[in-house]
């Protein structure tokens, strides 16, 4: 493998890892704070991607506006969803929540099929991000992927800031480490849960919107992302955002280079990584970092 190819693969790995991080950070927050194993999280990614497809005609090149509108819509959606389907479930066993989210997956998939159909649709990249830059004379790397990586980094930094430096973040961390104590101190846990859930949905949907021009939108796109993100969350340590970041980059590299070197067995690589890490550290890399 020559240097430019290697560099391109590295950039791809980072970009894929960062995208996974957006989805996985929401998942890890929802699990770490609310204790909900959310199987429907992949559906939110799918919904985001289809939203990028559906909104495209209205916004044209106003791509960033489209992303912002999408984020707002999905946050509202998450807020309502938590209220209707999850708010009465917290006292129950985990498995009841698993069942609920499984039901939601079926509903979302069918709704997608009813509204948009089962065809694969491409989503155009905005014209101001078309083309790419030269790398080593022969290879070129698309600007849109660069944009995707940068957008993910900005969101990751924003997330870090919110969780570690704001009052809301303080309440989130308090709720994560001791729910009853946080409630005792007057924090409105119900509202907090709703906000966290809405935030998680918005993050997953944003990832879907960013990914849509790269992967196009297709049925079942949520399922594969969901499982990979569970792997990320578990490798990183449940509830840890830093862990999710490290793990998603790790998974990005293993997956990308696995495809280059062991094409036939590439699917196994990520899961093997997870098995090895968990045998080594049964509670993930970062055991509840905050």
């Amino acid at each position: 493998m020559d240097l430019p190819t290697f560099l391109v693969q590295c950039l791809n790995a980072v970009q894929y890892g960062l995208l996974l991080f957006l989805v996985a950070s929401g998942l890890t927050l929802i699990f770490g704070i609310m204790g909900v194993i959310n199987l429907a999280h992949g559906s939110f990614y799918m919904i985001g991607a289809y939203m990028a497809f559906a909104l495209a005609p209205y916004f044209g090149d106003w791509y960033l506006t489209k992303l912002l509108v999408g984020i707002a819509l999905s946050a509202v959606f998450g807020f309502v969803l938590e209220w209707v389907f999850f708010s009465f479930l917290y006292q129950r066993e985990h498995l009841q929540q698993v069942l609920m989210t499984y039901g939601l997956i079926l509903v979302f998939e069918e709704a997608r099929s009813l509204l948009v159909g089962n065809d694969v649709h491409g989503v155009a990249t905005p014209s101001w991000l078309a083309g790419g830059f030269e790398l080593g004379g022969l290879m070129s790397y698309p600007w849109y992927r660069v944009f995707a990586s940068i957008a993910c980094v900005i969101v990751a930094l924003g997330l870090y800031f919110v969780v570690n430096r704001t009052r809301l973040g303080m309440m989130i961390r308090a709720g994560a480490s001791n729910r009853d104590m946080a409630r005792g101190l007057g924090i409105d846990i119900k509202l907090l849960y709703r906000i966290v859930f809405a935030g998680g949905v918005a993050l997953a949907a944003l990832a879907g919107m960013i990914a849509a021009p790269l992967s196009s939108v297709y049925p079942g796109m949520g399922g594969s992302v969901l499982i990979i993100c569970f792997v990320v969350v578990v490798i990183g340590g449940i509830g840890s955002i830093t862990g999710a970041l490290i793990a998603s980059l790790l998974v990005g590299f293993v997956d990308t280079f696995g495809k280059v070197f062991f094409a036939e067995y590439s699917g196994v690589g990520v899961y093997l990584l997870m098995a090895v890490i968990l045998v080594w550290r049964p509670e993930g890399l970062m055991k509840r970092a905050y």
Partner: protein, 315 residues
């Protein structure tokens, strides 16, 4: 408690007499439900008895099914060779997965079992050892003496017989010292260890037995369908069998069987065009909302429904 065996026995007798009145379609359906009931029972040993929630149980079903097809080859072969091979292969993978994943706990355990199942899935899906993503056909079904599994009636009795045997086996295991130890581990593992039990060994034994029984279900499924494909090992399948348990009510063998019946029948029912007309094409939506309604209204599963009705009557 002492009359616990009456309902299962009556149900078993009814199942044995049922073919007399069944149409070919409904008989097929009963066979399908019974195979999934065996599969659900095997998982119940882990989830309900030992308290180990596995989200990778389909791997053992799939391996059992794949080995059945591969070992049968073009000429069929003997059940006396194919069935032990299928069960052994499933048990062997269960031993490997269990030995590693039982080091973890709770949600981590759920995810590690899922990861190992996904590994098995991708091996069958991406490599050419067994037909890749298309799967393979079972050209000739294995036989044993006069037993011919191509005959629907014989297949029916074999499947129902297996279901009864597996139910009885797990019921016996639960009542044995081994089962009491597993229940102890579920309730308080620390205490069992303090009482001198090597809990890891017990859990591993339960995991391997559950894997082997899932392999039996895989054997039956491969023969019933006459083909296998990687989707048998997918996480959807592992999720579905866990759903059967939750739907039926975790913590009772009857719940596992009822859950398997309910889930399979609901899925079948919602796809019936004769019943639902154009809605049948969107069965996922109906099934999804039904599941959500179950969660909202029946926290203890279908098995809890009776207690609730009886309780309501008594005041």
């Amino acid at each position: 408690m002492s009359r616990d065996w009456i309902i299962p026995t009556v149900a078993a007798l009814a199942l044995l007499l049922l073919p007399a009145v069944l149409t070919p379609y409904t008989q097929d359906l009963v066979v399908k439900v019974a195979i999934y009931a065996v599969f659900a029972l095997s998982l119940e040993l882990l989830v309900g008895v030992t308290g180990l929630v596995s989200l990778g149980h389909a791997a053992f079903l799939g391996i059992g099914a794949y080995v059945t097809v591969l070992a049968s080859g073009d000429s069929g072969g003997s059940i006396a060779r194919v069935l032990p091979l299928a069960v052994l292969a499933a048990a062997a993978y269960a031993f490997f997965v269990g030995a590693l994943s039982l080091r973890t706990k709770g949600v981590y355990f759920i995810m590690v079992t899922l990861a190992f199942a996904q590994m098995a899935y991708f091996v069958f899906h991406d490599t050419k050892i067994a037909g890749g993503s298309d799967g393979i056909f079972l050209y000739a079904k294995p036989t044993l003496g006069a037993l011919d599994l191509d005959d629907k009636r014989q297949m029916y009795y074999v499947v129902i017989g297996t279901l009864i045997a597996v139910y009885a086996l797990i019921a016996l295991l639960i009542r044995a010292r081994f089962g009491h130890t597993l229940a102890g581990i579920r309730v308080n593992e620390q205490r069992m260890r303090a009482a001198g039990y090597a809990t890891y060994g017990y859990k591993l034994a339960a995991f391997v037995i559950a894997g082997a029984l899932a392999g039996v279900a895989g054997f039956l499924l491969a023969i019933k369908d006459g083909a296998v494909n990687p989707e048998l090992l997918s996480w959807h399948e592992s999720g579905a069998v866990l759903l059967m348990l939750i739907l039926g009510g975790i913590g009772s063998l009857r719940g596992a069987v009822i859950g398997a019946i309910a889930f399979t029948l609901l899925k079948e029912l919602f796809q019936l065009e004769a019943l639902l007309g154009p809605v049948a094409a969107h069965w996922q939506m109906t099934l999804g909302f039904t599941i959500i309604a179950f969660v909202a209204l029946l926290p203890k599963g279908l098995i809890g429904l009776r207690a609730r009705l009886v309780g309501a009557r008594h005041g």
